[in-house]
Symmetry: C2
Subunit: 387 residues, 2 copies
């Protein structure tokens, strides 16, 4: 690989995540304007937009790029939309990163968005099932709660975990999300709340699952030279990795690990010249509580099978050994699927530039984002450093 330019995040912004009334075009624009204002740049300095979105169809607007660029007053600039299921945001970020690193563009707006809740739970579940390997999974009735339940059951069997252990992940992330004014579920819950919530797909209960959310998140990505000339706060991207797994869960050798995470993480650590031990905090893909446990093992924070013990011991709590999902994660902050990967970068930017308020990870210098699509068929990992 050839990196002509160091790449930096110069500004970031998000709408609130939740059930939003505005159109997909409106929330895309809102988040982008927040990031542009936060970066303190003129929209005319933006050379292109990288949008991530999965189900524009649900709000009758695909081809979002030209709509955004027109509303920003820069209609002549190119744009595109990237989809990689629930990992769309991080893949779009990666493409934008590659273009800045290669010296093709010096300043980009990267905006992720999803607007689905108005279609109702049944349609949203149906849409999301289209992200599976539909021939083998979706059309057989295997939607994501069922697929992650299979992983959870395997984990329970293989490593002697309990359902209360999964509940602890939910409680921790709601504790963090309670401190995040933009979180969809800004409320604390107890282990008892989780255990007594309705079973969605055994052993996963309602509070083991992230909510369906609307929302948009945006960051300004630029070369180091551009960032320095603008003089505001910025952070540096020091690692970027991507990977894949067999699309259908049935094609994998093991149910308790996600191959694409390991591949993407290895690439990102190698590029950054660091190891998992150097990470101060991480935003990881906790679409279900089991996912966060598997993620923290695949990312190398804990040995395989030991992630659950770490949760039990509170080692992933805010300002403990390694703060996992200080934002509240998908579980509490919410999961507007096209926005999630970009929203993770917004959190890292806020953390490393002193904007995270009550949920600040103390003395943090290095943050990691981990975002995958479907059951981890696609994954991207990025590592950031304060400057």
């Amino acid at each position: 690989m050839t990196f002509v330019e160091k790449v930096c995040v110069l500004g970031a912004g998000s709408t609130k995540y939740g059930k939003l009334a505005e159109s997909i075009a409106d929330i895309t624009t809102q988040a982008s304007v927040l990031a542009i204002e936060n970066a303190g740049i003129d929209p005319k300095e933006i050379k292109a937009s990288y949008i991530s979105n999965v189900f524009g169809v649900a709000d009758k607007q695909v081809h979002l790029g030209p709509v955004l660029m027109s509303r920003l007053g820069i209609p002549d600039k190119p744009s595109l939309t990237i989809e990689s299921a629930c990992g769309s945001g991080s893949v779009s970020f990666r493409e934008a990163y590659a273009n800045v690193a290669a010296g093709f563009y010096d300043c980009l707006v990267v905006t992720g968005v999803e607007k689905v809740t108005h279609t109702g739970t049944e349609w949203t579940t149906t849409y999301f099932a289209y992200c599976s390997d539909f021939f083998y999974e979706g059309q057989a009735g295997a939607s994501f709660p069922g697929l992650f339940a299979s992983m959870a059951r395997a984990y329970l069997t293989e490593f002697g975990a309990t359902e209360e252990d999964f509940a602890r992940v939910a409680v921790k992330n709601h504790d963090n999300g309670f401190l995040n004014p933009k979180a969809h579920m800004q409320k604390k819950i107890t282990i008892d709340d989780v255990m007594k919530s309705p079973v969605v797909a055994s052993p996963l209960k309602l509070y083991d699952c992230c909510p369906f959310s609307d929302g948009a998140s945006s960051v300004i990505l630029c070369s180091e030279k551009f960032a320095k000339e603008h003089g505001g706060d910025y952070i540096e991207v020091i690692g970027s990795g991507r990977g894949g797994s067999p699309a259908a869960l049935q094609g994998r050798e093991q149910m308790t690990t996600i191959p694409s995470t390991k591949i993407a993480a290895a690439d990102a650590y190698k590029m950054a010249g660091i190891t998992a031990k150097d990470i101060d905090f991480a935003e990881v893909h906790d679409c279900f509580t089991i996912a966060e446990i598997v993620d923290t093992e695949d990312l190398g924070f804990f040995e395989k099978g030991k992630g659950v013990q770490a949760v039990r011991e509170g080692r992933t709590n805010l300002n403990s050994d390694i703060s996992i999902n200080p934002s509240g994660g998908l579980k509490s902050k919410g999961h507007p699927i096209g926005a999630t990967g970009v929203g993770q970068v917004v959190e890292v930017f806020d953390q490393l530039t002193g904007r995270a308020g009550a949920r600040t990870v103390k003395d943090a210098k290095i943050g990691l984002t981990h975002n995958f699509g479907a059951t981890g068929a696609s994954c991207a990992v990025h590592i950031f450093q304060s400057v």
Copy 2:
């Protein structure tokens, strides 16, 4: 911009365009396998896939990348899907190009696909209208035939063209498509056929409009070093440009020109170090007959207002001054919207490597592809050279 590597197309393949019975996953795989076999490479040499698709929802499969990679036996490799309405294929090609040019990957598969005809004309029209600026256009009932009819009416008024002139574009493209065994509409038509076909949106009649098509097209994109080591036929990408226009037609100063085409073409010509005069043939975005005339002017082949005269004089016919749409274009070859931009590259590859059979453009050395989204809100232009 920094180009570490020269970028080449090493192989190409398409399914037939038309109403296809197979699933979107199946036709994506079919086209990709054809390109891989044509390139004579082992799938394991592919480092990532760039897919273009707009309405995966219509066939219940988004997140197509991992599905394709799994079927190719390389599930560990990363993938993504790019959407830019009807210009998705060329934008995906551009992203893949940028990644190879920057030295990030040495070999990629770029596959465009669409599978919509099974949803019927009403649903397909509805889906496509989501590609407009829906707030200003789609929801007001302005679908694409109506929007291009507005452009056509303006052109008739401004430049003294006739509806028969538009018909000549359709006749020419059907003449070319008749020679293309993969064309959706592999049949000749007459000016009288066009003039007597039902009015869709005056002045555009049925035969002024491209069909709704299913189909997939794929190319293998690689570094020059990789191409030379493999020894088969390849062509070089010498120019790449992108641009944007106000998303809604009402936001433009003129109705008879598409700003994004001019911006993208200027960039591509500059990179290639050539002018419009050097182009031997071009695959241009003729979603409606009026579009081809506007395109050939915006690309600099003819002065503004003179494109229609060129058509009248047969100067855009196969093996005349400049062969426009030797494949049959969107009009006759068909328009599976996510595949179209990649399919144009397949045609250029076939032309420049002696695989175009009866529709060969004689002594051609340089070919251009021009593909836009919606009414040209987004556009990409690429220029290729035989080696």
